[in-house]
């Protein structure tokens, strides 16, 4: 019995190590090749250099694309987070007719393949005589991010202890004060998580963006187009930097919430 338990325990551990290795191989590869002295094409290892990190905008257009991605990402995130949070509060805190219709409308964009979302929006924009570009991309990103924000924030609202709000009311806080001083601060981590999720979805989106962007280049689109003739190592620098930045934000967020919990 003891041997089986030991074996099972360690089997899972071995499996986890393999699983994480699989997850991190392409990341490690991308990181390693960000130090490649490969010039314009980054296919074969040609020697170590820090040059790419010292001059991430060295390759033409890579920083233009990055700038566009950040602008699209920030605007879409703000809009989607506000709209999605309002919906989440309506669903999580109120009784109203048309609830299941609302839930279906939230679920459907997540159950629709991106290629359909992208193609249908572009077809409509073209019919209306709207040229693809910056704002169509923002509109599309807000559309597919809303559902994810709703789901994330709703889960947080559902996990709140209703007695906290009751206590505030018992202490003569009116509805608005209760919301502002009790409910909102408690839901805030959920909203922050939703915003982070929305930004990473927007920043990494290629398929829907490709349909609706016209001549606008975003970072994923730059990588896709460049992949035909070789991606400059600066793209690896930006990809790796995003990885470390996101990791830092998530870990810092966890540390802050842990300290608050104490």
């Amino acid at each position: 019995m003891r041997i089986t338990w030991w074996f099972r325990k360690n089997l899972i551990r071995v499996y986890m190590v393999l699983g994480f290795t699989y997850l991190f191989i392409p990341v490690a590869y991308t990181f390693a090749f960000s130090f490649n002295n490969g010039g314009k094409s980054n296919l074969v290892w040609k020697g170590f250099t820090l040059g790419n990190w010292q001059n991430p905008c060295g390759a033409p257009d890579v920083c233009v694309a990055l700038g566009n991605s950040i602008r699209v990402g920030v605007i879409s995130t703000v809009l989607a987070t506000v709209l999605g949070t309002l919906i989440a509060f309506a669903i999580g805190r109120h009784q109203f007719k048309g609830r299941s219709f609302t839930n279906t409308l939230i679920f459907l964009p997540m159950a629709t393949p991106e290629v359909v979302l992208g193609a249908s929006l572009l077809a409509m924009f073209l019919n209306l005589g709207i040229n693809p570009g910056f704002w169509p991309v923002v509109i599309a990103h807000v559309m597919f991010c809303i559902s994810f924000v709703v789901v994330t924030v709703k889960a947080r609202i559902a996990s709140l202890d209703p007695r906290l709000e009751q206590a505030a009311m018992d202490l003569y806080a009116n509805e608005f004060e209760t919301f502002r001083k009790v409910t909102l601060p408690l839901v805030a981590p959920g909203i922050a998580g939703a915003a982070l999720l929305a930004f990473s979805l927007s920043f990494d989106d290629f398929i829907i963006t490709n349909f609706n962007s016209g001549t606008l280049t975003t970072f994923p689109k730059f990588v896709y187009v460049a992949s035909a003739r070789g991606i400059p190592p600066q793209a690896n620098v930006i990809g790796s930097a995003m990885f470390f930045l996101a990791l830092f934000i998530v870990i810092a967020g966890q540390l802050v919430s842990r300290r608050k919990a104490r």
Binding site: M16, I87, A111, V116, L117, L121, I146, A235, G239
Partner: protein, 297 residues
């Protein structure tokens, strides 16, 4: 409920306002989804039955309600259709096989490192997914390390390559959607009270029986959510097939993309999109009914 309980009795004049409030909260977001999700889908349905203008330019179409567009589109692309669903199915099965033990380990075997490991599952996905897919292409490619090892060990022949194959496409799809599988699995496993497993052990169930009769059934909502979140985007994906595949591994997404941009054949692209969406929705509905979990959203 807490709101109503505490405040309901003192303000009756506010009642009407309160019943309007949820709709006010819903309105902006719902309007957005209606305008930029529902209307385009309706518009897509209209486009799908159009035919080219008699002597018009390329890209000009008129509405003739030609439903045979669907049949033509399907017959012309039935291989890509089958491939989309086959690859998505294989990728979902593989992702489940990889993600379940991973999620299980994080939930039950990682102690104080639980949160860190959870972050590490998501972390790779902050590096652009295109960069990671291209990294796979180079790792599995002719100049990469894997192929020489495989050839040296005679696992594959001298002339077989790993890239530009259905193997590479399925690998890429599996990899890309792995966190969508792992996170819901973890969420449902983590909710299981460990005492239920101990109880099974006390009742003389061995480890395998405990897993089969207790852990697995309790984690089913996670399995359903994870497989859906993997299958749906995988079936509609065209990036993996474009980067890691060859002309014989094209999926439906590739066809829709090229009909749209290269051939400017909007009706066929629309008919294919609509068929793909409907097929997925039907599969998802049957699956959710069978699995008996409607609490997804």
């Amino acid at each position: 409920m807490a709101f109503l309980h505490a405040a309901g009795s003192k303000v009756t004049s506010l009642k009407e306002k309160r019943s309007l409030l949820p709709y006010l909260l819903l309105a902006p977001g719902m309007l957005w989804l209606f305008t930029f999700f529902i209307l385009p889908i309706v518009n897509l349905a209209q486009t799908s039955t159009q035919t080219p203008l008699a002597n018009g330019d390329t890209g000009s179409y008129e509405q003739t309600f030609r439903f045979a567009n669907y049949i033509d589109a399907f017959v012309d692309n039935k291989e890509q259709f089958g491939r989309s669903f086959l690859y998505a199915f294989l990728a979902t099965a593989l992702a489940l096989a990889i993600a379940y033990p991973l999620a299980y380990g994080i939930a039950f075997k990682s102690g104080k490192y639980k949160n860190l490991l959870l972050v590490l599952v998501v972390a790779p996905f902050f590096t652009s997914f295109l960069l990671r897919t291209i990294a796979w292409k180079q790792i599995l490619g002719e100049e990469g390390p894997v192929i020489s090892v495989f050839r040296g060990l005679h696992i594959i022949g001298e002339n077989t390559s790993l890239t530009a194959s259905s193997f590479a496409v399925v690998t890429g799809l599996t990899y890309n959607f792995l966190p969508f599988m792992t996170l819901p699995l973890y969420a449902s496993l983590e909710r299981i009270d460990p005492r239920t497993m101990e109880a099974a052990g006390d009742l003389y169930a061995n480890a395998f029986t405990t897993f089969r009769k207790v852990t697995l059934p309790l984690s089913l909502p996670g399995v359903v959510a994870g497989t859906l979140l993997t299958f749906i985007p995988a079936a509609g994906d065209y990036v993996n097939a474009a980067i890691l595949g060859n002309p014989n591994t094209k999926m439906l997404g590739n066809v829709i993309e090229s009909r749209f941009f290269k051939i400017v054949d909007y009706p066929t692209a629309a008919a294919l999109s609509f068929t793909l969406m409907t097929a997925i929705l039907i599969l998802v509905t049957i699956y959710i009914r069978k699995a008996g979990t409607e609490e997804l959203v």
